[in-house]
Symmetry: C2
Subunit: 339 residues, 2 copies
Amino acid sequence: MQKRVSLKTIAHEVGVSSATVSLVLNAKDKNGRVSKEMAKKILDKAAELNYVPNTLAKGLKVGRSRTIGLIIADISNLFFGALALHIQNYAEEKGYTVIIGNTNEQLSEMEKLINFLYARQVEGLIITPTEKSQNQLKRLINNKTPFVLVDRTFPELPVNSVMIDNYEISYQSTLQLIKKGCKRIGLVTYKQDHYHISERRRGCEDALKHAGLYNPDIMEEVRYDFFKDDMKRAICNLMSTKEKIDGLFFTTNSISINGVKELIKNNINIQTDIQIMCFDENDAFYILPYTVPFIRQPIKEMAQKAVELLIDQIEMKNEGIRNLVIGAELVSGENVIYF
Amino acid sequence: MQKRVSLKTIAHEVGVSSATVSLVLNAKDKNGRVSKEMAKKILDKAAELNYVPNTLAKGLKVGRSRTIGLIIADISNLFFGALALHIQNYAEEKGYTVIIGNTNEQLSEMEKLINFLYARQVEGLIITPTEKSQNQLKRLINNKTPFVLVDRTFPELPVNSVMIDNYEISYQSTLQLIKKGCKRIGLVTYKQDHYHISERRRGCEDALKHAGLYNPDIMEEVRYDFFKDDMKRAICNLMSTKEKIDGLFFTTNSISINGVKELIKNNINIQTDIQIMCFDENDAFYILPYTVPFIRQPIKEMAQKAVELLIDQIEMKNEGIRNLVIGAELVSGENVIYF
DNA sequence: AATTTTTGATTAATCGATTAACCTATTTTC
DNA sequence: GAAAATAGGTTAATCGATTAATCAAAAATT
């Protein structure tokens, strides 16, 4: 790598001190601190030498890195990928650099990442927390490190968060299944204690209970670590009940995709035999010859709000804890139903 | 944010100079520079105060940021998402931080990103270049900025690259279609001048020519900016030829997904009416009741090699330009065919 | 003509960490 | 017992940029 051009280089070539160069290049010579001719000379030389300021040195001096850390649970998931993209775009627009880390849903990785990012002087974090990460978040709170949770949260902790209303959208979407005439509606969800997932389940189950259709025998749980096997078993179980089920609610995207796959494998016609409700958009749905109804999270909006919340905290514009809830939409066939 | 603990803080609390603290914390007191008792005191205090070194300050001093920039063309694409994940994981393992940027296939964005990353003192770049970005790459070459191209390259430029053998795998995969008995094999590709895409086309066409099956009338091009409309038209054209086509080669993942979708929409049975060949793995393929043959790129290996090549350059272990070609595999039903 | 103001720049400290060079007791060596 | 070696630190410069404080010369004011 060629030696980089620093303020000093320019100063030396023009024959002034580096302070002068700094003033000109930062346009802080408002009170006529530098003559126009000199300013032009410096600007020209900077352009000629292709000067790019050293963000790190500047950050060190002014005590601000203008960097935020993004801790994602599973970047190979399209939902998180899109979330990361929008967070990055929006943060960059606001003048911040984003360093992304991936926990792979591993608590230990989350701890490592926090330290890693902290050492890189991030001014704040946007986090999709892994299960049981409350203690790590508490440490961040004690440190007064600004952070925002997205997509997932722990309701018992006093933290900033951006979420969709998982209960509400699940309730409403289940009502849609009922409206379509489903009488025996099952559910497949993860066996884990993420609040957002259990809220989805609760929303679905409450809708069923209120309609007098709730049946605990057709609520299936699958393990994250044995996902494929458990899905196979779950769909198999559900499909072999005496009274055939005619509706199915999937609480996450991965469960939705795999659920549809297993249904197709079992020769169940998703149009006629059963109605389903999925979470999150996916290419896979568009490949099918029929439309699959799914709940769409407003990813871009969530990303922007998360960045805004974080920057407000960093720049001390915040007034206490904020928990944003953003509406999701049910995409069913051609028509979008908003809630 | 709480005031961070610096070397000085520790030095002050223990009652020594910060030089001593630095020596102890970096284990550079090998020649008995610091007494064991003092070292223990410092270590204990560092642990007590939860000291985390300021990577930026260290980078400034030693002249190395240990950061690399990753410029991705379209992070919402699963292939690039996976590539980014693996690059990041492997780079971190090697002690480097990765800052990711997304060009959205826009040349102007690529220029902005390069400057942005350069200002952040990246020591090198891994790039999936956009079309017509040769001049920007030439500037990097002139600057002697270490960089590696992945997935795409410009054969006329003297650059390091990690690629699959697009020509070879396309040739072989087309032979498979022919072996299955296809007589009229069409192709859908992007109308753009990326070398890797045109190599895929060339591979397919050469296989057809050598088999005496080449027909330029059923080679369709679609525009990136009018993708969906063009795909609709392309498939429609192909399907309305007098002599029905019985094989179809898609040169990218997005074309594959959309192609399959359009075929299904047009009520064409992919098992019986037509044989297809797709590029890159996708969830969508697994949702279908039949297996879709596709070409799988060894993403993880490509990622690792790219990181290795780059680090070799950064740490001056390189010996000139290297162009790595990694074998891809054809995944056809249950059996994987390696080339 | 003496004083004040303005113009146009420089000096020097600082951010946090590193490291070559230096210093002072204490211990070894002959 | 004097010189040399060693142990156990400290000083100070440095990376690149910022900025308060300062300064010298020219211009304006009285």
